[in-house]
Symmetry: C2
Subunit: 540 residues, 2 copies
């Protein structure tokens, strides 16, 4: 009945013939790379380039033709004056930045794919200061770009033209943590990793974890409804965010900062701001329900021959690992080839599809036994061909790195066309197969990886260099395919500037029109993060 140590070792002996092959990876900080690589600039080859508002990289002649993703013309907002600056300097003494060199990193996104030309950065410390700023900007018709850690991937976190950058960087105060209920209340500018460390000392964890955690702000996470690595287990921010404080476009402070698990008094307004990418209000504080820190974490890296087997393994896994399953991620053999070729990582097993399974639980012996029983069943029923498991922290990180460094390997492979889609889980990989067939030899690599447990596929296509003909093969095919299968053309990255006009592939026109009406209600002058989220035909 109970898993004994010898029996566990025996299984490991079966599974572990390649076990040592993967322990040599540099594991430092690799766990932090789920979506972003830690080295800026690696993703320069992203499929989307936009340097509107700046001619630093492009002359007018070689500037890309207007496409659905390109920014529209600058809207008729006021231009900032000396009087405006004097006002800001008065309310934010020493916290108004106008030095172009200092503004550089705030004007450009992490992927270096979008660049604005803002001339002023404001660094408020309190919600009241944010309120004063917005009230003033609204009355003056000055556009504002709310900015957290600036780690977004869709051009939502930087100005497009000369919008004032409103940074939450100095709003990094933890207001309270209640260890009985697990409810944390903090300002929007707290860095996710800092919150994680704070909570770990108090035997809790944040309900979300993602690659950018060393930089991203919790306010930005909430504003973009960040997904990440723990969604399978702890659910989305729509469930774990219990309260928000938001400053509206006219400067009103909307206090929905409840610290209650249940509150059915009227419409749940805070939900509107989760995932609205700073276009409906500026989130200044949040209260979040935090889970207990797991006492035991295990990772298994397994190989399957077909995607169907991988899905059957998922079903088995949900049943047998039950409440301790915390991640079910995958990569295909093309990803592994790139990891081998470009990063010299060695595969611990050799198959067509690879699975990373993580368990997190409160009792190590029980967790190991559950994992053991599941692995035995998966092997004997021939769903899984090979595999290796890890319980030590360094080995866990090494196995995770095979999943997490795919982005980095792709950047080495060439110019990369990146897509982040959500699909019914049964159809997840068919898009990769269809795309591979469609682009044929024109692409260098067509790879699929992502969060199977969440139905979230990262589809990436590389070519030697930027190739308009290849792009024409890919788009709009990828969006049409996704729409046809009732998927989402942006699973977790949001729409921002880059994808705003593709919204109709995932949302019916009535829904988009209603979004436009809500935007007009909350921000009638459209000063908050203009050119983002809503398509050009829905701007106020």
């Amino acid at each position: 009945m109970m898993g004994t140590l010898p029996r566990m070792l025996k299984l490991r002996a079966v599974l572990g013939r390649h076990q040592n092959l993967c322990w040599n990876f540099p594991s430092q900080a690799l766990k932090q790379q789920s979506c972003l690589s830690s080295r800026p600039g690696l993703l320069l080859g992203s499929s989307w380039q936009c340097e509107v508002g700046s001619k630093r990289h492009h002359t007018e002649a070689d500037r890309p033709k207007p496409a659905p993703a390109a920014a529209p013309d600058r809207l008729p907002f006021s231009r900032i004056t000396e009087e405006d600056l004097a006002f800001f300097r008065n309310i934010l003494p020493g916290r108004v930045v106008t030095d172009p060199d200092l503004l550089e990193s705030n004007n450009e996104d992490w992927l270096k794919s979008v660049r604005g030309s803002s001339e002023v950065l404001l660094r408020p410390q309190t919600s009241q200061e944010v309120s004063q700023i917005l009230k003033y900007c609204n009355s003056r018709n000055l556009a504002v770009n709310p900015q957290g850690g600036n780690t977004g991937l869709v051009g939502g976190s930087v100005p497009v033209y000369d919008e004032i950058i409103l940074s939450t960087a100095l709003m990094n105060h933890i207001r309270s943590f209640d260890s009985i209920s697990g409810i944390l209340t903090c300002q929007a500018g707290c860095v996710l990793e800092d919150l994680s460390l704070y909570l770990e000392q108090r035997d809790h964890i944040m309900p979300l974890d993602l690659g950018a955690k060393g930089s991203c702000h919790i306010g930005g996470n909430v504003a973009t409804n960040a997904g990440g690595l723990r969604l399978l287990r702890y659910g989305s921010l729509h469930g774990t965010v219990l309260g928000l404080e938001v400053v509206l476009a006219d400067g009103q402070v909307l206090d929905c900062l409840a610290t209650l698990r249940k509150d059915n008094t009227g419409y749940d307004l805070k939900q509107l701001f989760i995932g609205s990418e700073g276009t409906l209000g500026v989130i200044t504080a949040a209260s979040i329900l935090c889970p207990r820190k797991p006492k035991s974490v295990n990772v298994a890296f397994l190989g399957c021959e077909t995607f169907e087997q991988l899905l059957k393994t998922f079903q088995l896994c949900r049943g047998m690992l039950g409440e301790i399953l915390s991640a079910y991620e995958f990569l295909d053999s093309e990803c592994m080839r790139l990891l081998n070729t470009h990063l010299k990582l060695t595969n611990p097993v050799h198959c067509q599809f690879y699975i990373v399974i993580e368990t997190s639980g409160s009792e190590p012996t029980h967790d190991e036994e559950k994992l053991h029983n599941f692995l035995e069943e998966a092997m004997t029923s021939s769903l899984v061909s090979e595999g290796t498991v890890a319980t030590e922290d360094s080995k866990i990180k090494a196995l995770w790195s095979l999943r997490e460094r795919v982005t980095e390997a792709l950047a080495h492979d060439g110019y990369t066309y990146k897509y982040d889609v959500s699909l019914p889980v049964e159809e997840l990989y068919q898009l990769v197969t269809d795309m591979r067939e469609r682009v044929g030899g024109r692409a260098k690599s067509v790879v699929g990886y992502g969060h199977v447990g969440d139905g979230n596929l990262h589809l990436n296509i590389t070519s030697q260099a930027k190739d308009p003909a290849l792009l024409a093969d890919i788009e709009p095919f990828v969006y049409e395919w996704t729409a046809k299968h009732r998927g989402s053309i942006s699973a977790e990255h949001g729409l921002g500037l880059k994808k705003r006009n593709y919204i109709y592939y995932s949302k019916p026109s009535q829904a988009v029109a209603l979004m436009g009406q809500i935007k007009a209600l909350l921000d009638p002058k459209g000063i908050l993060n203009p050119y983002k989220t809503l398509p050009d035909d829905q701007k106020p």
Copy 2:
């Protein structure tokens, strides 16, 4: 290390000295009574009575004076004509009910505390029919009361005057269930219990469970953001509802019926309708993320001497039971006295506070061992004085009934003033103590019970008969106390008709004003469930 059977039995021997005392309860269907008793009419003594629009029970003289809870005057909606009926009969052949006797149960709420005087009940089968109905009603300025299973407790589910009742009863078709992802898509009129049975045959469960499950509709559950017994484990409907189809006041069908765990394409509009009590649109279908059915369920009934010990036990429990904890409920010794007196139930243990702990997991041996270790620690550290455990279904139901039949016992005790508040968990019981002190001998009983794990207290006060002086002692004190402690004056029941004007105790005026603006945007004529949710000063 591992829990062996003899050791488990030994602990049971320690804990189980009263074990047999509680096995005699009639357990039939008791699990279904978390909030409601299964016998209609038991709660006639509710603190709130409103028979506006009908003089059946009150003459004008004895009708209660207008209070914050009383309905406002009838708004100037059109009155239904023969032409209107002809239109409805044309689109809903055989499904337009006008017989007053048949309308009786739809006009009156489950508590028999609110009665409307609607003369017509419409029973559409499809979203398109709902669309035709609302388009027509909006153009004719006819008010509509959307109705599911009519099990609400705040007068939200019945007409106040002559609103047309739009029932979802015939919209009970399950559209799809995906056993890989666990995603169910169904029409709004599916009865919660039917969905539960359907899913159990497919190795899954609904993420919510509540007393009214035999009658309530999933559309009504979503519209009221129902909480219930599983919220501690699976979270609120804001996290588990993945998509909604909603018909707006003007008849537009808003298709947000995604079946995806992740979708960041624009504002998450469906969230607006969750908990809006039918005032913003009529939910016609929902897709819901359903958990796997647990393979093992255990229940422990424990006694503590102080509420502080009860909270410390909760902390211990969260740590040691971790991922398998599925309920942490409590009742006080006054509740137990009423159970003894009125229902002849015998307490298995004798203490000041009683806890019901439920575990649900995927591996019976592991779950038993975790529970065993937790109980041992709770006993040796003197947090818990006495207790008994159950693993068999019938015994589990018997233990649960001690928690679930409190409502029934209260109804026998006298006229009951009922409050459902959410508070920071540390302050949960102080309200009961303060209330007891405040009302002194004027009340017959002052009892507290509820969902500790969710910070949700059910405070109930009984008296021999209706007592205006006692009510004046209780209200607005109870609301002011709750507001002072940043609690919610309605944790899970909603506002409906009864509590709409108390909203300001839990929400700031800016938030309420914004709710009013959203209502005006989505339902400019205010035809959807008028007199509900929003306070009288925010009606369109």
